[in-house]
Symmetry: C2
Subunit: 314 residues, 2 copies
């Protein structure tokens, strides 16, 4: 993100003084027991012109649901904005993906807007998802030194899938699927929300998002690179050495969850969906900043902590 | 709107089966006492690249607030999606317009998303506005034969302003202001909502929108062209003959209100804001379709009833 974009977000923060805005430091707004999130995706930036349109529709819904998952909210309703191109078959197939994701997660499409764009303009798609929060709607900012940091899901798959597609737009397999059809961790998010001191979904890379959670919580954060959860497909492709693990921790587009939990609490005691992947990856600390370590000692920070060239989610 | 776009909206309707969606036949979704609307605007389609950025920000907020006004809802909160270009001064000035409109109408900006776009791509801006409905949230579909049709506001100003700007991008004056800085009729909408059998805001032209309200209400509609409310600036520019009146009734971008009221109800009995312009322009009828008349008798329908080339608000 450029410095002018940072300045712009700061300018927005000055506007968003309502408590519902949570200082724009969360991924969501909270109105009573409702949790609202609004994400926009653009062709050539967040998806590839060659991506199957149905997967683009799925992803638009899933990335918004992932924001709800990060707050433990139950999907309720969505409003969609979309640009209609000259390729009505694309639009139709896109919609089948939207429908599939809405149906899979009980999200009702209740309204929105379609607009025409000048020819050649890249498609821009937006969704506002509304969810109902549980008794607690964890912010990013509630963590304390000593809290354990847990990740739900695996890291790095989508980034490898995207790299494969950039190389060959016919690429297939679980990594490509992870990029195109992320699965929002709604059930785990609901279970964790009641116990987490801070929680968010991981969209821009673990190291970047964990730094944001720690900063919002006025803590530092230490992460054990050895225990980052990697999928078999990831390991088959890139291995599991330090370099591979750092790639997984910075790739972005994971739509996993990051939760800070009190040190005595064991999330394995929750009745999480079978096959939920859960890993304790680090700890919030007194102080500030991010430190990485593995069995060999401290690990130097990579130059890029995540997917920073994308404008920030406000 | 092309036939493929119509087909697309029909396809969307099949998805939107939740009662909150109101069959996508309203401009809004209704969740409990909350009214939600989502509008998107694009450079070169809904605003001109030469429009002052602050006025684009104002208009983005105002067109969404107009949807809330059409349902008598009180502005509560908004989430904004915007594409950030390379011209950070544009983005800053845009934001001052957003801020001005939010402040003027008590709308809290509580979240959203900013994304980067490829260079040269037209800006796309979206807003989801959330309002709190009153005891009644009128749909488009509740009108009955015999109900009187009232308009709040004047017609045709914005369309003339746009025409002036297409001719000369330095054009100024009240018609240009009407195009760039529409005023949502929130106070009148709240007053009327308790009494209206059907209500909506006018964005695509009176004849088109009145036809939609009548069709949703399973009625026909007759409109008296002689009594359409025209501003002094409009009359000074285009006169007030039948041709001018039909231009006003089809131009679009009015953000006036259209309300169906029981025949015995006099909206002048309400305590509307001073200088509210209110005109009884017609009647809902048994049957279907739109009929126009004036003192000289029946008026043939113009070829275009409104701003149909814009994709439909769902």
């Amino acid at each position: 993100m450029s410095s002018s974009e940072f300045a712009f977000i700061d300018r927005l923060r000055l506007l968003a003084t309502d408590p519902a805005a949570r200082g724009l430091q969360d991924d969501v707004a909270v109105l009573g027991d409702l949790v609202l999130t609004h994400d926009m995706i653009a062709e050539g930036v967040h998806f590839l012109p060659t991506d199957p349109p149905a997967s683009v529709g799925w992803k638009l819904v899933a990335v918004n649901l992932s924001d709800l998952a990060g707050k433990g909210a139950e999907p309720l309703a969505a409003l969609m904005g979309m640009t209609l191109g000259t390729d009505s078959e694309w639009d139709e197939r896109f919609l089948t993906g939207v429908a599939a994701a809405c149906e899979a997660y009980g999200l009702a499409l209740v309204g929105g807007d379609t607009i025409a764009l000048p020819p050649e303009a890249p498609r821009v798609l937006s969704l506002t998802a509304v969810g109902r929060g549980g008794t607690t709607i964890p912010a990013r900012s509630g963590g304390s030194p000593g809290d354990a940091l847990w990740v739900v899901g695996t890291l790095g798959d989508a980034a490898l899938g995207l790299a494969a597609l950039r190389n060959d737009d016919e690429a297939e397999g679980p990594l490509v699927e992870a990029y195109r059809r992320p699965v929002p961790q709604l059930a785990a998010g609901r279970q964790l929300a009641a116990h987490a001191t801070a929680m968010m979904d991981l969209s821009d890379g673990l190291l970047l998002d964990a730094s944001r959670l720690a900063a919002a919580s006025k803590c530092g954060v230490e992460i054990d690179v050895d225990v980052l959860p990697l999928s078999r497909a990831f390991i088959a492709e890139l291995g599991s050495d330090r370099r591979a693990r750092l790639a997984a921790a910075t790739g972005g587009d994971d739509y996993a969850l990051l939760a800070a939990l009190p040190p005595g609490f064991d999330p394995l005691s929750l009745s999480l969906p079978t096959r939920t992947i859960l890993a304790r990856i680090g700890t919030l600390t007194a102080g500030e900043g991010l430190k990485l370590f593995d069995a060999a000692g401290e690990v130097p920070l990579p130059e890029q902590l995540g997917y920073e060239h994308r404008a920030q989610n406000i």
